[in-house]
């Protein structure tokens, strides 16, 4: 099985141009990265709002945010993706119909970004909340005493000071979102795992293509690790390490 001819046959299958499937895999990788980046952005935005809301919002805001994070963290992503995908498509279409427009088909990329973003937002809320709490209260009090508005305090003091504490958690969330894009394969979206399954199903070379997809995912996570290590070093400039 594992002799030279099998290896070169595998490499032929992975060639960039047809009959190789390399181009398909790379297109899938592109979609994966696109959705991951989009969902991560949406998640960070929701997470920042959620974290500030949970810490400084009124009691009702806090209760609602608690409901959001609890539900999202207890229901499998796969189920949430299906529910949100159908519900949102339905709602948008009903709104369009009631305003006299035609039904539209929501693109897979948009739906994927939206759904994974909402899931990420719940986890990001908790990560950022913990990071905000790690900012010494005295810093914030001092900024308020200087007469800064709450937004200015957040922008100048809280956000920069919480970064070193937030980055390990945010790096973790990035790893999770890149892997969660695979779930969109189940609803038929052409990201990396789905592309490799199609290639594998056609050629019956399951090992070759799933291994290739795995290598691409691993490469992505190793590169991301390097990038986040850089970011962490940059964000924790000026903080004391070790000691008190």
């Amino acid at each position: 099985m594992a002799d030279g001819s099998a290896l070169s046959a595998s490499l032929d299958l992975l060639a960039y141009s047809p009959p190789g499937w390399g181009a398909n895999l790379l297109r899938g990788l592109g979609n994966t990265v696109l959705i991951a980046l989009g969902a991560y952005g949406v998640g960070m935005f929701l997470g920042t709002l959620g974290a500030f809301g949970k810490l400084y919002g009124g009691p009702l805001t806090r209760d609602l945010l608690g409901l959001y994070t609890t539900l999202v963290r207890a229901i499998p992503e796969l189920v949430l993706i299906l529910i949100l995908y159908f519900a949102v498509t339905d709602l948008v279409n009903q709104a369009l119909l009631s305003m006299g427009y035609e039904r539209i088909q929501i693109s897979g990329v948009a739906a994927g970004i939206m759904v994974l973003g909402v899931v990420q937002g719940a986890y990001a809320t908790e990560v950022l909340r913990g990071a905000i709490q790690s900012v010494p209260a005295g810093q914030i009090e001092a900024a308020r005493a200087m007469g800064m508005s709450p937004l200015l305090v957040a922008w100048r003091i809280t956000l920069p000071l919480m970064l070193p504490a937030a980055i390990p958690g945010m790096a973790n969330l990035w790893m999770i979102v890149t892997k969660d894009t695979a779930l969109l394969a189940v609803v038929g979206f052409n990201e990396l795992v789905q592309e490799s399954r199609q290639a594998a199903g056609t050629t019956k070379a399951f090992f070759t293509f799933f291994m290739a997809a795995g290598v691409l995912f691993l490469a992505m996570s190793l590169v991301s690790n390097q990038v986040f290590a850089r970011i962490e070093a940059w964000a924790s400039k000026g903080t004391k390490r070790g000691g008190i």
């Binding site: 099985m1 539900l71 399951f206």
Partner: protein
């Protein structure tokens, strides 16, 4: 505090309003949506079977995965390089690739490889290897082992050196130190996180439906295909997972409350 006071402290007016709204939404879902399929005995049986499959897969893979994670974490924390390096590579690969991909690689990959060898087909294991659930259990177990292996590495490293030296000074053997001091203290460190990890693992179990294992997710998909009802099976699914997650959290909270706490 009397009961009435306790209720007032936990349930200010806004929470009553929220609870009322929630009950209203639930009542609407129960009354206005189509739940007739729930009365079919065929689906009732499938739902019970599906929930049971989800639960046993979750339990078995958590236990097996954790047992595997102990040596994987230990050799990374204190083992020689020729054991530590492979264990580290294993954790990196498991944590760096999607579980869905690992599952499909094992099921379709191994599943297409095994029939090529006559001695596997003739062995007594073949009737088991032809089914889907061994691959589901294997993939989910390896996933737990990878993630928890990393956690256990930190836990083993976190046990203070003085504890181990004291145990050696008492004349315990190396195995005795490991069994009586090192392992229990490392496990005690990770216990508070295991409840959360179990919920995460529960959230991964519906993936096994993609390789034809009939868990509760597969049952709901089946109902949706048969009846063309879109939302109701999904809502039932969400409810089932919420209940399982609640039970897991409550179980671990109860379990943790029974553990002795250090007071100093």
């Amino acid at each position: 505090m009397t009961l009435a006071e306790r209720i007032r402290a936990h349930m200010p007016l806004r929470r009553w309003v929220l609870a009322g709204l929630g009950l209203g939404i639930i009542a609407y879902c129960v009354l206005a949506l189509n739940w007739s399929w729930l009365q079919t005995p065929k689906y009732q049986g499938m739902i019970v079977q599906g929930v049971w499959n989800t639960i046993w897969i979750l339990g078995v893979t958590m236990v097996l995965g954790f047992i595997l994670a102990i040596p994987i974490g230990f050799v990374q924390a204190a083992g020689p390089w020729y054991l530590a390096r492979p264990a580290q590579a294993f954790c990196t690969v498991i944590r760096g690739t999607p579980l869905l991909l690992q599952l499909w690689l094992l099921y379709y990959g191994l599943g297409s490889l095994f029939p090529l060898y006559p001695w596997i087909r003739e062995s007594d294991l073949w009737p088991i290897l032809r089914q889907a659930w061994p691959y589901a259990v294997l993939a989910l177990t390896l996933s737990v082992a990878g993630y928890e292996g990393e956690v256990m590495r930190g836990a083993f490293k976190g046990v203070p050196q003085g504890q181990l030296e004291a145990a050696r000074a008492f004349g315990m053997s190396r195995w005795g130190v490991f069994r009586r001091i090192w392992l229990p203290q490392a496990v005690a460190r990770v216990l508070p996180t295991i409840g959360g990890e179990t919920v995460l693992q529960m959230k991964s179990t519906p993936l096994v439906a993609t390789i034809t294992v009939i868990d509760i997710y597969a049952v709901a998909s089946r109902v949706r295909q048969d009846t063309f009802i879109i939302y109701e099976p999904l809502l039932l699914l969400a409810l089932v997972y919420l209940i399982i997650a609640g039970v897991i959290v409550a179980l671990f909270a109860w379990f943790e409350s029974r553990l002795p706490k250090r007071t100093a």
